[in-house]
């Protein structure tokens, strides 16, 4: 066998193995996508997949389900609000940490990262009691604030490298022109770190979009988000798998689109402690 042939064989073997791996990894996802297009009764009867089972009934039921639509609307609203809040506040803090020298700078930066890694279960009971006593339980404001507890530290950590990368000469030039730190931040830094803001915003939104525990405990009927609403489709006597899969597909679509579009930033986004609900 020539070397070129050997290379080709190895490459083919690797591709075959990779495809097999991919199939295993995608199987549950495919199951979810396909079952959204089948009727509950067909799913429950354990029939094999076939093209003539295709129906949009489950999607229609999901879209006609007022509570589910409200929950999805809440998810979008809470995601946008907590993203806006975290990116606004986080960009300021990241600027403060990366462009100033002060005592305790490292300690502050590290504590933000440690805060991002705290288990939600450790905070949620206290938040529940707090929110209940000040009337924030089951409000959009409350759940938004709760989501900021992981998104603010997350955004700060994501943005620090973007702020550090800005060349000092920009600052110097602006200072000669008599800019204050605030104008400098707004008019010079924010446009320069815009790509970072977009990346941080996308990941912050996904964090909030996927979040379950806070939503489960801190919301009721009014501010309930979609993950909680979807989880209530299954349990006890309700086994509406078709609707569960359809609603899940709706939730997964933006996440997968962002994920595939953001390949370049995935590692940092995930390593900073993102994505997990």
């Amino acid at each position: 066998m020539t070397l070129a042939n050997r290379r080709k064989t190895i490459s083919a073997a690797v591709m075959f193995f990779a495809l097999a791996l991919l199939l295993v990894e995608l199987y549950p996802i495919i199951i979810t996508l396909l079952n959204g297009f089948r009727r509950d009764i067909v799913i429950l009867s354990g029939q094999k997949f076939s093209a003539n089972q295709f129906t949009l009934d489950s999607y229609m039921l999901v879209f006609k389900n007022k509570q589910m639509m409200k929950a999805m609307g809440n998810s979008i609203l809470v995601g946008l609000l907590s993203t806006a809040l975290s990116v606004g506040v986080g960009a300021m803090a990241a600027y403060g940490i990366s462009r100033f020298k002060f005592r305790g700078r490292n300690a502050l930066a590290y504590s933000f990262l440690v805060f991002r890694m705290l288990p939600q279960m450790s905070l949620v009971v206290a938040l529940y009691l707090m929110f209940r006593s000040i009337g924030l339980r089951d409000t959009i404001a409350g759940i938004t604030l709760a989501h900021s507890s992981f998104n603010v530290p997350y955004v700060i950590w994501m943005l620090i490298p973007f702020f550090t990368a800005v060349d000092k000469s920009y600052e110097e030039a602006a200072m000669v022109d008599g800019c204050t730190r605030w104008t400098l931040f707004r008019l010079v830094f924010l446009p320069l770190v815009a790509p970072g803001l977009v990346v941080a915003a996308v990941f912050a939104f996904i964090n909030s979009w996927n979040e379950f525990l806070y939503a489960l405990i801190l919301t009721g009927v009014k501010a309930r988000t979609a993950p909680v609403a979807i989880s209530s489709l299954i349990g006890g006597d309700t086994l509406t798998w078709g609707q569960m899969c359809a609603a899940s597909t709706v939730m997964l679509t933006p996440v997968f689109v962002f994920t595939l579009a953001m390949q370049r930033f995935l590692i940092r986004g995930v390593a900073a402690g993102g994505v997990k609900g």
């Binding site: 083919a12 199951i31 020298k101 440690v114 600052e171 899940s248």
Partner: protein
């Protein structure tokens, strides 16, 4: 990010910056973030600790709040279900994470070469990491249903008897672990693959020319160079696995019985099942301390601010 149009640096500029830096204070920029951190992180932690010192029923109808000092912590140590949840949690971590590391490393080594469709396959393999946790839990619950679940469908075809997977304590626990491995080994793969790509090829080629075989290269060259990345992946996975809740909650609800009531699920049950907020808070503080210990280790070892600043804006 490269900035081609750079304003000229001048002596006056540097002086002006220095003066502003001397006068300017980072405090106004930090205050909003600090306020939020105080409101939703620091205060709840302190409050949790205070609550953990009380016999504190969830609802007003459950009786009076009573200060009992370390009473909840003593009660926890004597609670068999607490030890059970801790055992399940540790078992989960010790079984799932090594397997995720092995799978991730194996796949990273194997796929770290050019082959047809490589880019697409590597991107798609990561999708489970971004699968909503609750959807993952529910999909696995669905696949493991008796009669119509995918797994049973397959086994029935082979003539095996019908098994209610999630109704069996051992199978349910194994299923929870498999769900996590399925979802999170690509995460390890993603980190290690990037780490491997960062090893200069001439180092590997030099080892190959010196006649080092695959295993020798793996243990003498690749693994030592990859060690910091492996450590990061390991610590991130431990921190993440310590707080697992939603997937298991929707998959098994902690059952059957207490078979999959991992630490967070038991903490949740103490507060919202048994209505004992004090006990739940004691568990919350316990989990918090362990998580902080791991997080501080991770941050100290692998996430220094200098390293982060070196990344620049484009990676």
């Amino acid at each position: 990010m490269t900035f081609s149009r750079r304003p000229a640096t001048s002596q006056t500029g540097r002086v002006a910056l220095k003066r502003a830096g001397g006068q300017g204070s980072p405090v106004p920029f930090l205050i909003p973030a600090l306020l939020i951190v105080f409101a939703v992180l620091i205060f709840p932690i302190v409050f949790s600790f205070v609550v953990s010192l009380f016999d504190w029923p969830l609802s007003a109808g459950g009786g009076e709040r009573r200060f009992i000092g370390g009473g909840n912590y003593v009660a926890l140590v004597q609670d068999a279900e607490f030890w059970n949840s801790l055992k399940l949690q540790l078992g989960f971590i010790f079984i799932a994470i090594p397997l995720e590391l092995l799978l991730g490393l194996g796949a990273a080594l194997l796929l770290n070469r050019e082959f047809q469709g490589g880019r697409v396959i590597r991107a798609l393999i990561l999708l489970p990491v971004f699968f909503l946790p609750i959807v993952s839990g529910m999909t696995w619950r669905f696949m493991l249903q008796p009669r119509y679940g995918a797994l049973n469908n397959f086994l029935l075809m082979l003539g095996a008897p019908e098994i209610t997977w999630l109704g069996d304590p051992v199978f349910a626990y194994v299923a929870v672990i498999i769900q996590d491995i399925w979802r999170m080994w690509p995460f390890v793969f993603m980190l290690l693959y990037a780490g491997l790509a960062g090893i200069p090829t001439d180092v590997l080629e030099a080892a190959e020319i010196d006649g080092a075989g695959f295993w020798k290269r793996l243990f003498r060259v690749i693994l030592p160079l990859l060690y910091p990345t492996i450590l990061t992946a390991l610590l991130l996975r431990i921190i993440d696995a310590l707080r697992i809740f939603s997937e298991v909650y929707v998959m098994t609800e902690g059952g059957p019985g207490m078979a999959t009531t991992l630490f967070s699920l038991y903490t949740h049950r103490q507060a919202f099942g048994y209505m004992k907020v004090g006990m739940s808070s004691a568990m919350a503080i316990f989990l918090l301390l362990i998580s902080v210990a791991f997080a501080v280790t991770l941050v100290r070892k692998n996430m220094s601010l200098e390293k982060l600043e070196d990344q620049g804006g484009n990676r």
